[in-house]
């Protein structure tokens, strides 16, 4: 083959060097089948070749962690013989191509990762990013993605209890759909993909294999008939009904101890499941391609291997148990066929048309390249400096800006989104979506909390802070409900790793995640990396690349001993006193206020003091546990005004308000700095008027122990929102706006 002529398409997304490496390893140039397998297994998606060196630095042990990254999902001890299993995964590109099916299969895929481990999924979360709210395509993406998520999760009977929806121009050409699932299992009922024994039967279960999701790979292959392509579709179509049956069948087979090892077929379907199972078990396999149930007759071997048809699993079972296993899958009306055998030699031998078709070395395929790609501090960061507030005149009418902020699509209620998800199924949802963290009870009063999110704008402005903030912010939400942050999963969405500036963002953001996770003692037990979230665009004669902001998203699990003690952030009663717990900096860099008031958010956000953060959160939790507080909320996007306003209007039973007076002079702040600075290391808490009299005793002791300040700033009122005689709004009006934007 003439090397200079080899197009990148021909290489299936592999680099020339990688192609040459493969030829060297094989001792010949790869044929279509081999190239298909390599391109899948050596892809960024499957091999983590650009991110591995950084992911290795994350804390993965300690606390209640039983199994960290490396399996389909991580496992945390929940006590009393139970474990929780969770992971988050991206499905960005498929969701951009076909938002309904893409998001649906994203949810289906992550749930499979969870029940592959032997856990019954008990809750879903998702983190969604769309283009600017006014972009003509945004309503379409929003409605289809939400429909797709609901379609799959609702049908599976797994409640979707939280998440986030963010709009930003940077996602106009690359939406993000990150899906999180948590499941519960018995400690001794966890299943792994690494347990295959020589002589085990390899069993294929679930839906038949079709042409779904076979992308560039076969496009470039000689075997691909372009004319046929017109009729073909490579979009993966989700079938939650079949997945529900697959879930029940798998759990039943596990319960009956019919499964030795199991791996879901996710990205690169049969290829990654077979090679990974073999590799992790240190074994090899015979795979009989003639046995694979096909939906489309005449699929070629490479097509079978690369198909991403949904709702399929690969199982290793003991020979004697095969019939019993078949009986279980038969009960649920699912395919269950013998597709091979586990062998000692670490190779996979493929049979096709009853003959040995190909033999591939497991190590060669699985040990893909690992890169430490060049990094370079992005040019734009030179311009990102702290806000010089004196250069900005305080706007005439801060009330108008306050209303703009509370009705901004990124702040306003996402009720119209989450009411399309069944969040009450499972009879476990104690605190539903719409507050901060979701609270679920398990047995009796024991429970856990979930939260997911991240702030890409801040990550863009300071990748380290953004990464750390994603973790602390989830932790704040969990702590404010009275929970203990326990462990996290991370979904890292970035543009191309081949751009040194992007790689620098990635490295710094991971460093931020790591620092916060270490300090807060929340190990990373699973996660996912999604690179290449960028699109080449043409604007007249100009071509440019539209890139997303670096978007690390965290999913966090917290524990609570008694869900009856869980706190919600909303105000409870008129007359309660409002306090500010923590420190208040008033830096406006990166805030929504700077954007809306001055059209300029490109300033450096305040730094995070992680040691202080830990003390602050522990202090808050102590106050909650002792029963001193009636509500607690962190100060996040939109600042203290937004936090107060939300607390006032989200009480499901009544409309409340507040009157707040803060001595800004004494704190050296401008009024807008007080009202709108974001992600302060502070919480707004309320107390019963009577109770606060006991400050001297209980509360003061706790404050002193942690060295945290508590300042009274006002009181809960009915229907008015007043701050320092400057903000003067009506709760009813604000509520109406807040709930009607999206």
């Amino acid at each position: 083959m003439n090397k200079t002529k080899r197009s990148t398409e021909k290489l299936f997304g592999l680099s020339v060097e990688e192609y040459e490496k493969i030829s060297e390893l094989l001792g010949h140039e790869p044929d279509g089948f081999e190239l298909g397998i390599f391109s899948a297994m050596w892809s960024e998606h499957c091999s983590y070749k650009s991110s591995k060196v950084y992911l290795k630095t994350l804390p993965t042990e300690g606390g209640k962690v039983l199994i960290g990254p490396g399996e389909n999902a991580g496992v945390v001890d929940f006590g009393d013989g139970d474990v929780l299993v969770f992971k988050m995964e991206s499905h960005n590109h498929p969701s951009f191509i076909e938002p309904f099916q893409g998001s649906a299969t994203g949810v289906g895929g992550i749930m499979r990762d969870i029940f592959t481990m032997g856990a019954r999924p008990v809750a879903n979360l998702n983190s969604l990013r769309f283009g600017s709210f006014s972009h003509p395509r945004t309503p379409y993406y929003l409605s289809e993605v939400v429909k797709g998520i609901g379609f799959y999760g609702n049908c599976m009977g797994v409640p979707t209890v939280g998440g986030e929806v963010v709009f930003d121009e940077c996602y106009n050409d690359n939406i993000l759909v990150n899906a999180f699932t948590i499941g519960i299992a018995k400690k001794d009922g966890i299943f792994l993909s690494s347990k295959c024994e020589v002589g085990n039967i390899v069993v294929y279960v679930g839906s038949a294999t079709g042409m779904d999701g076979i992308h560039g790979a076969t496009m470039a292959s000689e075997e691909f008939d372009l004319k046929k392509n017109k009729k073909r579709s490579t979009v993966q179509v989700g079938d939650p009904f079949t997945e529900k049956l697959l879930l029940e069948a798998c759990l039943e087979a596990m319960e009956k101890k019919l499964i030795v090892s199991i791996q879901d077929m996710g990205a690169a379907g049969l290829t990654s499941s077979s090679f990974e199972m073999a590799d992790k078990s240190g074994k090899g396999m015979l795979i009989d391609l003639d046995a694979i149930p096909l939906r489309t007759a005449g699929m070629t071997p490479v097509e079978m291997m690369l198909s991403e048809s949904q709702e399929r699993m690969l199982i290793a079972c003991e020979k004697e148990k095969l019939d019993e296993l078949k009986a279980v899958f038969d009960k649920w009306g699912l395919n269950c066929v013998k597709a091979g055998e586990v062998i000692k030699e670490k190779v996979i031998k493929f049979y096709y048309n009853s003959k040995i078709y190909k033999t591939l070395d497991v190590d060669v395929i699985v040990n893909g390249p690992e890169y430490k790609r060049p990094v370079k501090k992005p040019e734009y960061l030179k311009e990102i400096t702290p806000v010089k507030i004196d250069n900005y005149k305080i706007p005439e009418n801060l009330n108008d800006i306050a209303v703009k902020i509370i009705t901004h699509p990124n702040i306003a209620s996402k009720r119209k989104v989450f009411t399309q998800y069944d969040y009450t199924i499972g009879t476990a949802t104690v605190v539903p979506p719409g507050f901060s963290a979701a609270v679920l009870r398990v047995n009796g009063n024991k429970g856990f909390l979930l939260n997911a999110g991240g702030n890409s704008k801040y990550t863009y402005l300071n990748p380290f802070t953004g990464g750390a903030l994603a973790v602390t912010e989830c932790a704040r939400n969990i702590t404010a409900c009275g929970g203990y942050p326990a462990a996290i999963t991370d979904c890292l969405n970035f543009a191309s790793p081949e751009d040194p500036e992007i790689m620098w963002q990635f490295a710094s953001a991971v460093e931020g995640v790591k620092s916060a996770a270490v300090k807060l003692n929340t190990p990373v037990i699973s996660g996912n990396v999604s690179f290449y979230n960028e699109t080449a665009k043409k604007d007249g004669d100009k071509t440019y690349v539209s890139k997303i902001y670096p978007t690390p998203v965290i999913g966090m699990l917290g524990f609570i001993e008694d869900v009856n003690k869980a706190l919600t952030p909303c105000f409870k009663d008129e007359g309660d006193e409002i306090y500010l717990l923590g420190s208040f900096k008033g830096e406006l860099g990166g805030s929504l206020y700077m954007e809306l008031a001055y059209g300029d958010f490109r300033q450096k956000p305040a730094d995070l003091n992680l040691d202080y953060e830990v003390r602050l959160q522990n202090c808050l939790r102590s106050l909650i546990e002792k029963g001193f507080l009636k509500s607690a909320a962190d100060v996040s996007e939109g600042g203290i005004f937004t936090a107060l306003a939300e607390n006032a209007i989200t009480n499901p039973e009544k409309i409340l308000g507040f009157a707040v007076d803060y001595d800004i002079k004494a704190h050296g702040l401008r009024i807008d700095e007080f009202l709108f600075s974001e992600f302060e290391q502070a919480f707004i808490v309320t107390m019963d008027k009577e109770l606060s009299g006991r400050r001297e005793s209980g509360i003061a002791v706790i404050l002193k122990e942690y060295g945290i300040k508590l300042e009274k700033i006002g009181a809960v009122k009915k229907n008015i929102m007043k701050i320092n005689g400057i903000i003067d709004l009506k709760s009813g009006k604000i509520k109406e706006g807040y709930y009607s934007v999206i």
């Binding site: 079709g210 042409m211 779904d212 073909r232 579709s233 009904f241 079949t242």
Partner: protein
């Protein structure tokens, strides 16, 4: 003059049709054993006012492609009466 456009939207042949699959399995278990395959699609009737002649066909085509079907996974056919 009002005309009717009848538009049939079906999943492409090689796309998984979960609905068809479920109906098939129920038909089989209800004893309709000679049923071999089921595909479920959409049928849309549109009442349209005919403006300039010829434009109606184009318009129905455009509507089918842009609104009624998803060209990635579906194909459609139009009949005008």
């Amino acid at each position: 003059m009002t005309k009717k456009a009848f538009i049939k939207v079906m999943l492409k042949e090689e796309v998984l049709d979960p609905q068809g699959k479920a109906v098939l399995s129920v038909l089989k278990s209800s004893g309709y054993n000679n049923v071999k395959d089921v595909r479920v699609g959409k049928y849309i009737e549109i009442d349209m006012e005919d403006g300039k002649s010829g434009s109606l066909e184009n318009e129905a085509e455009e509507i089918s492609e842009k609104v009624l079907s998803n060209p990635l996974i579906e194909e459609f056919s139009i009949e005008i009466k």
